[in-house]
Symmetry: D2
């Protein structure tokens, strides 16, 4: 469609028509009937914060804990993350609540460290074309969440994924998180049409981050519904005990109750397109 | 949120918190529990074409016939529409099949003519800031479908609607049809987050055009689902007896069977967010 | 290059390899060795304002007076221009100072009126794809200034010009005025590379509007230099007796002294690329 | 203007009103009266290629040799550069021709190696927000060329520079190389208005890359003129012995004669804005 088959041979749909199922050590899967629900704060801020959040999102039905220990920040003067200590807090909180862990790695020299704590390595939007990092992460033997670059075309994104597969790793999930636009009404422009488009072009699962994708907490639920209706294989949602006090991204984070509400409403939308939620699958 | 209340006082949500219900003479409504489904060809090409299409979309459950008689075309050498004759064909086909008519008016001097045949006047993306046309259409006493400009911000779009309301017409529906982007993978970038955002900012109903919004027929169904899940009050879908032979926009048009299939799948998604289809409401 | 020759046959360079010289009744030319310098306020506000401005820009070396009588305004609540009265004021001020007049026409029904007062009809960015207006202006028998749409591609822009030439008018000048971008640091993004690109693709002259193109008065002079160095056939510059008190676009307008300074500096840049200024040509 | 003073305190104009002069070990300077002219191939391909190019650009008047040894490539299947061997070839060729060397470093682990061969470390567009790399390069004690990200705002770009200064390095030059746009007519959209804007906002020198900025060889000369007229402190120009046979970026590269021609025409434009070329300064 947008690209001649062959230019990204390994990620191309033709190379695996039935699609790829990505499975974390924790059991969560991306690409099957059950949606993956990754939730948690933008940044790991403290043991209390991450523990409370892990408990809340797990009991609401999420199956993966997200949270940043190494943060890419536009300004050098803003909070850069807790680093290795953040990874340990994240791992502990996830383990105590039966969740997987997805967290970002920024530097090729940190891949081993992050891989030792996480079930899934996230490559952030600003790193999508950090080719050294792609190669290092590709060789780390852990599932990867590859976010779309700030203004990456679908072709460039698939080529970035091709670097990972070429390094021997086919456990790759693509994450649409909104692209740069001319309209400041939302933080980014969430490009949901890439969900079905990618499903035609590649065998890799596709998830959506409506939190970064809009930057506005009140838009997260409707865009989560839209993402699932468009065929997304899962969601990334920012959740914080007290969004107004978050050190980063508070404006787009859901509180515990808002997230619980979203998770109560989501199953009926998911079932409308033949999908189910992880919690629902446990209960059923 | 994005704009201080007051700058577009008439369209602002605060001026009518319960929302506006837009009702066509044919009975179709925008903004209530029942979705409006507008379907039809890009251009009215012939009596046979529009008759066949009207019959097909009506029997599949659409309640408004769309089709262009006056076409805005990038090149002066491409088909410019059948004009007044196209309007008559459109009206006849709609009447014989119990449908309303929405069609575009391009020139302020044609408003009276188009209003004599249509139930709803469409202002196209290229005309969103044609202020003479906005004033003339605002005074025509017919419901209006105001498409978003090719790269219009939400603020500019609401201001264009404000021109219509200021001219005395509050029967205005906003239509998201995708905006210009850097990625040629799709024809436009469908910005679904504006659906819930607009519902917060304005009392006017919001519909989505997944045909222009993606430019690719195979993406129309998933993006129609996503639009409804995001809270859209209706859809505009391009349908043609033989998309491969359409004089314009064939690549993004659904055939009759594809449209019927979409309409069979849509009710379950609509019900998941508390909405219903016009056909379903007739049956029930 | 970007488009197969033939798709816009009339404006294509091949149809007139030596280029088109556009000449106003006042004597100003676009496309020759002498640059056209169009200067004046965003809006005609009063007789005093336009008279003072005409005198100032003429004595600084401009040869065309610009100013809006019919204003396209995003909001219906802002100043919409003086209309016919503004046209008369503009004509009088220009005549008394030996200047041509370029002014915008928004509505096809106003073309005759505007053409009766102006030497050159401006089609604004928001009207670039107002095809009714293009046809009407194309038949008016006056030179045309066609501004680039807010996010128009070069191909779309050339196609809009093709409408004018197809209506029998080859006295068309293209005006780059900046396009919509993701960065709010400037009002628009001035795309100067279109100047040499258009000179390869079409025989029509190309001018640049650094005032709208940047939105910031202090950037006007360096971008005017850059435009001329890139090969522009002229400039449009907003000048106002008191920018801080302008009813529109004050932030991007030059005062009389700033404009005079620009005009004193410009000749040396112009001569560096083989061009001259109108004033210089009179003196020499 | 775009940002409150203080958010990027170290790069802000106020912290050094007279501007920063960046000086390479080879003697070339950025930010003074003499423009820096950096020329060379996209990729170092062979000893013969880089030697011939160094000789040609030096004799035409360039004072810095550019060329990639580590190449960031969208596809993993295209040429990735000669690596350490490329650095040696580049250094040798520059030394034999009295040129400085600027070359890109992609990986924080390669900073020491690249710094051992180069006079100036280039951070490419895709790495502008690679914060680990910024920190490592900031500590390397060599001048830095910081390219603007593919769709970076001016604020984000200045913040990236702030990382470098905060690491103790004030020898930083900003390079505009075009941003992503909706129009495929050119490869990128060259945003020349940032040149005077940055000169107001920061004390760091600003250079322009018209080769990447347009992607079209025939636009390089006019846009080089425009950049200098806008106040740029230097240029980056891609030059190749045989552009048609280049392994990368051939379409935008100048041949030796085209570059020599550009360099013969440039001094008169430079002098028009009070600048001079390195070669001219040697001769005079």
């Amino acid at each position: 469609m947008t690209s001649p088959s062959g230019s990204y041979a390994l990620v191309h749909r033709d190379s695996r028509p039935l699609g790829t199922l990505v499975r974390l050590a924790s059991g969560a899967t991306f690409g099957g009937d059950i949606l993956a629900i990754c939730a948690g704060p933008c940044s790991v801020e403290s043991r209390d914060q991450i523990e409370a959040t892990a408990k809340a999102v797990a009991s609401a039905g999420a199956n993966v804990l997200r949270g940043g220990a190494f943060k890419p920040r536009t300004s050098p003067y803003t909070f850069q993350g807790l680093g290795a200590e953040g990874l340990r807090l994240l791992r502990d909180a996830a383990d105590r609540n039966g969740l997987g862990v997805v967290t970002e790695v920024l530097d090729p020299r940190d891949v081993e460290l992050v891989a030792a704590h996480a079930d899934m390595l996230q490559i952030g939007a600003r790193s999508m074309q950090n080719f050294s990092l792609l190669r290092e992460v590709g060789e780390a033997g852990k599932p990867v969440l590859l976010k779309r670059g700030l203004s990456a075309t679908v072709d460039e994104w698939l080529m970035a994924a091709e670097y990972l597969l070429l390094a021997g790793n086919d456990q790759v999930v693509l994450c649409e998180r909104g692209v740069r636009s001319f309209d400041a009404a939302t933080r980014n422009m969430l490009d949901l049409a890439v969900v079905p488009l990618l499903h035609q072009l590649t065998h890799l699962p596709v998830v959506v981050d409506p939190s970064h994708g809009t930057g506005i907490a009140r838009l997260v639920e409707p865009m989560a519904f839209a993402a699932v209706a468009a065929g997304a294989d899962g969601l990334l949602v920012e959740v914080h005990p007290n969004p107004a006090a978050a050190v980063s991204d508070g404006q787009q984070s859901l509180g515990f109750e808002e997230f619980a509400l979203l998770m109560r409403h989501l199953p009926v939308v998911a079932r409308a397109v033949g999908r189910n939620l992880p919690a629902a699958s446990l209960v059923a």
